[in-house]
């Protein structure tokens, strides 16, 4: 199981609800959550074989921005 961490500009609960179906519908995403309480609005994904590109595309399609979380 991989844990993929991305920072996003998803800031409100309403926006999380908007992307939820897109993330839920992906078979290869086991669990995901967005930390709205933190400055980076981190999207955390537990998955077995998801590609970063796939997630980026998905988030962009929903109208949001996301980026790798810098080390």
């Amino acid at each position: 199981m991989e844990v993929l961490i991305l920072k996003t500009n998803i800031r409100f609960k309403k926006q999380v609800k908007a992307v939820a179906p897109l993330l839920d519908s992906r078979q290869n995403i086991a669990r995901w959550n967005i930390d709205l309480n933190d400055v980076d609005k981190v999207l955390r994904i537990e998955s077995k074989d998801i590609q970063l590109k796939e997630v980026v595309q998905l988030i962009h399609a929903a109208g949001f921005h996301c980026d790798e979380l810098a080390d």
């Binding site: 844990v3 933190d38 400055v39 979380l69």
Partner: protein, 207 residues
């Protein structure tokens, strides 16, 4: 594609307990020194010398971290308070044991007490209260109801009880930690001060 953006978590991999401990202590320190509102995963990662991504392996989000921290600190406090304590003890005996245990714990871990205070006054209070050890609560309640039944303790509201039974002790602990009491008067905790105060507390709570 930057391979640092993927964190591979193998199910068999041992968690780095030292790292977790360091993160834990740093988080408590930061929350006590800078308050809960100013606390962020990003700041913690920098202060603890780990990448933010590392934090998110161990904790689902900021709230998860804070609540788990609270749970751990609370269990330690509960365990320390209940050491050599029996709910069947007489009121004066049981209260003395609790005083000594709680004071010792508060003096040994000053940041823990301040941390718990921060959380009590935060919007997370409800969630925090849900987590409060049911066992610990039950032990406290059983001790009190036994003492009331035996007519060793007056029957009063919880807040009245707590303000007299424990608040004085915590006030003394705070004075000791600051090295001074009222009006800048120098102060060090002694057994005599503890015992004198405890005696009056018990007197006040005896029917």
């Amino acid at each position: 594609m930057n391979e640092h953006s993927f964190i591979f978590v193998l199910t068999m991999r041992a968690r780095d307990d030292n790292k977790i401990q360091a993160i834990r202590n740093k988080a408590i320190e930061m929350i006590v020194d800078q308050g809960l509102d100013g606390f962020s995963m990003q700041k913690l990662a920098k202060a603890a010398n780990v990448s933010p991504a590392t934090l998110y392996i161990y904790y689902k989000d900021r709230e998860d971290l804070i609540l788990r921290l609270w749970g751990e600190v609370f269990s330690e406090m509960a365990e320390a308070t209940l050491k050599n304590f029996d709910t069947e003890m007489s009121f004066s005996e049981g209260l003395k044991v609790q005083w000594m245990n709680r004071a010792r714990f508060g003096l040994k871990y000053p940041k823990y007490m301040q941390f718990m205070e921060q959380l009590h006054h935060s919007h997370l209070q409800e969630k925090v209260l849900e987590l409060t050890g049911a066992d610990f609560k039950k032990a406290m309640q059983t001790f009190v109801s036994n003492a009331i039944k035996r007519k060793e303790l007056v029957k009063v509201d919880l807040e009245v009880y707590w303000s007299i039974a424990f608040a004085p002790m915590y006030a003394l602990v705070k004075f000791h930690q600051e090295g001074k009491s009222i009006g800048g008067k120098k102060f060090t905790m002694t057994d005599k001060v503890m015992n004198d105060t405890l005696k009056l507390v018990i007197k006040a709570l005896t029917p």
